[in-house]
């Protein structure tokens, strides 16, 4: 496996620092060649709070059967957005 490193490309890395009270963590964009932290708090995408509808009661079946399309909401609730999404290709 090649281990050749490629330097000098304008590729960006994002660094987040955890453990900062309620604000979540700081974010900083750094160049790969010089990792630097910023002092300014920044919104963190993966901790974004989204409002969604209340999950319906059991909607999904096991092998023994299948469930219908999603039901309507019973009321708003706050859930945390997923860090990743699997969506198929």
């Amino acid at each position: 496996m090649a281990t050749q490193r490629r330097r000098g490309l304008a590729r960006w890395l994002v660094i987040g620092i955890s453990g900062l009270a309620t604000a979540g963590f700081l974010g900083a964009i750094v160049n790969q060649a010089a990792v630097q932290e910023t002092a300014a708090p920044a919104p963190v995408q993966d901790l974004s709070v989204i409002t969604t509808q209340q999950p319906a009661p059991q909607q999904i079946s096991s092998d023994s059967g299948s469930a219908g399309p999603q039901s309507q909401a019973n009321g708003p609730t706050v859930v945390r957005g997923p860090r990743f999404r699997t969506r198929g290709s």
């Binding site: 620092i17 955890s18 990792v35 969604t52 059991q58 299948s66 699997t86």
Partner: protein
């Protein structure tokens, strides 16, 4: 700040998809993480150059052009072909890397980004004439023999294999994740602790998730026939070929998401589950150890394996 951890992230494009790789580590490991992520990006580009069927000069293209003759492959190509044949055997041929001829006949003859989505061609797709069983391997020589007319598509399993190898490059860090176009490997915990959260996109409503998974130390992959569709002679086509017919799958399933120990396994099982459809597809997932999954059927109905029961949909 005692105990702080940082997230070092790399974004790049490879294999016709967006890739995000990230490492969670102590601040003193930032440079090492950065270097490891560079290697991950290099690995993706290197594997694409070997495994892409869309690059005329790729080693896979050379192999496909050598059907009828013995081809001596690199370690990488040989290993992925061997893995693809193993996956074919494990799925009783429902996953079959030799469907490329059928895929091209259905109109998917170039990278999807450049594909004519309304093809006037009216000839019917050809039925597949070769199967994975006709591909012969000799490991000692890394020799591959395919009969004339046989060709391989390693797109899905190649990406999965690359994800698994990229994960090995990051093993020195306990906590990391790599997302290649929705195929994901996860290890350890995110920067704020807990488990990694993964939304399973609703194929009928891409802005929504069917459910959210909390997982770690596993791979997640989804196959769907909804996203890559085109018209050929006025008839809708998609890229998930049923090897039993040589035609785009019409099983009644439109998507499958699989959680498995490796990305290559998740990729191949997801594809096979869509092709098999409800019932058989779910049984395939349930019989595999350490595998969970769900299958989305026509109309939005969802079937899940036992381990995903009780997870609620996100409306």
């Amino acid at each position: 700040m005692s105990g702080a951890r940082i997230e070092v992230r790399s974004l790049f494009r490879a294999m016709n998809t967006d890739v995000e790789a990230l490492v969670v580590a102590g601040p003193d490991q930032a440079e090492a993480a950065s270097e490891a992520l560079e290697l991950v990006e290099h690995l993706f580009h290197q594997h694409e150059a070997v495994l892409s069927r869309f690059l005329p000069g790729s080693e896979l293209s050379l192999l496909n052009a050598s059907a009828g003759r013995t081809f001596h492959a690199s370690q990488l190509l040989y290993t992925v072909v061997e893995g693809a044949l193993d996956a074919a055997e494990a799925t009783s041929g429902v996953f079959d890397p030799t469907i490329l001829g059928s895929l091209i006949a259905a109109g998917y003859d170039r990278s999807f980004e450049t594909l004519d989505l309304e093809q006037a061609e009216t000839t019917l797709p050809i039925r597949k004439r070769t199967t994975w069983r006709e591909v012969q391997l000799r490991r000692a020589e890394r020799a591959i023999f395919m009969p004339a007319g046989c060709s391989l598509d390693l797109g899905g399993i190649g990406k999965g294999w690359t994800l698994d190898q990229a994960a090995r490059l990051l093993e020195q860090f306990a906590d990391f994740a790599i997302d290649a176009g929705g195929d994901i490997v996860l290890a350890g915990t995110p920067v704020d602790g807990g488990a990694w959260s993964i939304g399973v996109q609703d194929p009928y409503a891409p802005e929504r998730d069917l459910m959210q998974l909390q997982r770690s130390d596993c791979a997640v992959a989804t196959s769907t026939c909804v996203r890559r569709r085109w018209l050929r002679g006025g008839r809708s086509q998609h890229h998930l070929i049923d090897p039993r017919t040589g035609l785009p799958s019409a099983s009644g399933a439109i998507a499958a998401t699989v959680i498995a120990p490796s990305a290559a396994q998740a990729e191949t099982l997801a594809k096979a589950a869509v092709v098999l459809g409800p019932g058989s597809g779910l049984r395939l997932l349930q019989r595999e150890p350490e595998v969970e999954g769900l299958i989305v059927l026509d109309g939005g109905y969802v079937q899940t394996t036992e381990g995903l029961r009780g997870l609620q949909r996100v409306a």
